[in-house]
């Protein structure tokens, strides 16, 4: 697989699918500007599910230090891009 060549758009579209799956009934508009406070279901347990889903979707492993930084779609995309680079 050519994950290493994944573009920023591809990362965002994959994240959109992940968000839709994890927070399926929540009302929010997916965009790079979306922050944790905007999504009601993105609580501490929602965060754990999100991390597991991101790891599976991109086949990466997030460190315990990365995890605190995942507070918006833009920051998640940046961390994922760095892992894939």
């Amino acid at each position: 697989m050519t994950v290493a060549l994944m573009s920023n758009d591809k990362i965002l579209s994959t994240l959109q699918r992940v968000f839709a799956d994890i927070f399926e009934d929540a009302e929010f508009e997916f965009s790079p500007n979306l922050v944790r406070e905007d999504v009601k279901a993105w609580d501490s347990l929602g965060h754990i599910r999100l991390i597991a889903a991101i790891e599976e979707a991109f086949d990466i492993r997030l460190s315990i230090e990365d995890i605190d930084k995942l507070t918006s779609v833009a920051r998640i995309a940046a961390i994922v891009a760095a892992k894939l680079a």
Binding site: E24, S44, L45
Partner: protein, 628 residues
Amino acid sequence: MAVNSFSIVDLPWLPRLSETFRAQVRAVEPDSASDWGVLLRQLATQHIGLTQAISLSQSLVRLSAKQPSKALTSFRLGLVSNATTDFLRPMLIATALRFGIALEIIAADFGQIMQEAVDPDSQLNRAKPDAVLLAIDHRGWPLRSGGSTWPPFDAATANADLSLICQSFRKHSGAICFVQTLAAPPELLFGSLDAATPGTLRSAIAAFNARLIEDTPRGGDVIVDIDWLAQSVGLDAWYDDRQWYLARTPFAQKALPLYADFICRIIAALRGKARKCLILDLDNTLWGGIIGDDGIDNIALSPGDPRGEAFRTIQSTAADLRRRGVVLAVCSKNDAATALEVFRTHPEMILKESDIAVFMANWDDKATNIERIASQLELGLDAMVLLDDNPAERAQVRQALPQVAVPELDEDPSSYARTLLAAGYFESTAFTREDLARAEQYQGNADRARVLAGSRNLDDFLHSLQMRMDCSPFNAVGRKRIAQLINKTNQFNVTTRRYTEQEVAEFESSAQHYTLQISVKDRFGDNGMISVVICTKRNVEWDIDTWLMSCRVLNRKVEEAVCNRIARDAKAAGAKRLLGTFAPTDRNSIVRELYSKLGFKLLDEQPTASRWVLDLESFTPFTVFFGE
């Protein structure tokens, strides 16, 4: 994404998740054409993750509030844990649907394990659940000794705590406990020496488990072998420390569906919903190749040939299952004579013709044949598992007979035995003498069905069976099986009162009670213990508290013979009347007319129970067909 291989955490025996899952769940309504319980059960019978589990568990709540489902059996599970149970709850509820169980979970507050157990007024003890799951891992037991000297770990206090917790729940709520073995984390202090050095975590966990395995069945509680489960997933994958630090999840999130399935199988087994019969396809399932095309000399079945060995493993697995009481049948699109010839003459066959209770080889569709097999064995379709390498056949059977379990298989026969066993269809919480004989008993059903077809009438048939009945009061030898029957029998059961093994033991020595355990033999085999009676003696009245019978001896006049026996013993003890209660449930309509059929008079009728009386003075024993 194309997936080429599965590991056990992916529940490879289940069909993959349908892309329209969400829409299908939303479409389930109380007024759907089928019972909504049936629909949710079908939806749960695929590889669901936490997201799907959440929507299924929400649907269950939404639909049960409108109208209860007749297709689901309820079970109330208490849950205590040293870890987060937020994910576990929806996953367990959704997974239980896969087994036809409407699960209600009463979860204790985080970490309140001992308080919940010992306080008679605790939330769990007041809720009186059917069972309490002790979802506690090594971090929740006091395994670590204080101080900074050797040893850091010891199991004695933890084992004592566990006993106290189990006994307290039993005493205050009547619930049995599901007790988890511990999986040792993959970190070693010395290396290989940890195993042999008392005081290491690995040794302390081994000691804890050894004691738990000995104590748990003796106390009437049930072991959940998480040690095995974690090892089969791989300890390195099972323990995700990062998730533990972040959210106190006790094992990797990825293993949640497997863990839930593992627990729900046990609940299903306790409710009598474990599968009982394995139906085997032949070509490319029991041997490599197609017998009708390749011929008996060219099928793969020999040791030394890698393909042959894979099929031999499937056969020896089926033979082992039969040995523990699973009934085997064959269902194959084949010419019967050609197929039978392999069983009769191929020198490398492990399964013999005599291992197969019903042999169905013809050109009819599989669903029809499976219905025939079920009816000959007098087993429900929900007791059946079909092992078949052909994806089209599997799909047809799943569609036509959703009650039948049909494990998914990949194209490699070397994975079949493992996949079949990993699915846990034949889960059991006890192993009794009756289980050992069960495969023969059902084979006997098929033989009896053939004899009945050749008899002129039922009485001739019953006479020709040469039945013998043995009745005796409860005793220690029968205790386990009596408790099993009391807790599993749903259909022929007048009051559906459940008693624990401990309570059964108390009946043995109670002067106020009359008890019977009844077993039946005939010329086709030993049916083992099939009926249980408990009467409360009140001077001149004996009140039937419990009367149940296994449905495999229906239509044999066993109930008439048992009635004769109770009446005889009651009369001999000076009783004048026999009282009976019928408490209707959604499963026991088969005994609705029992008391009236036996000549009891209706005393009183309420929606929850009717009361019946038999005058012993005027009672004439029924004609029955048993030697004693």
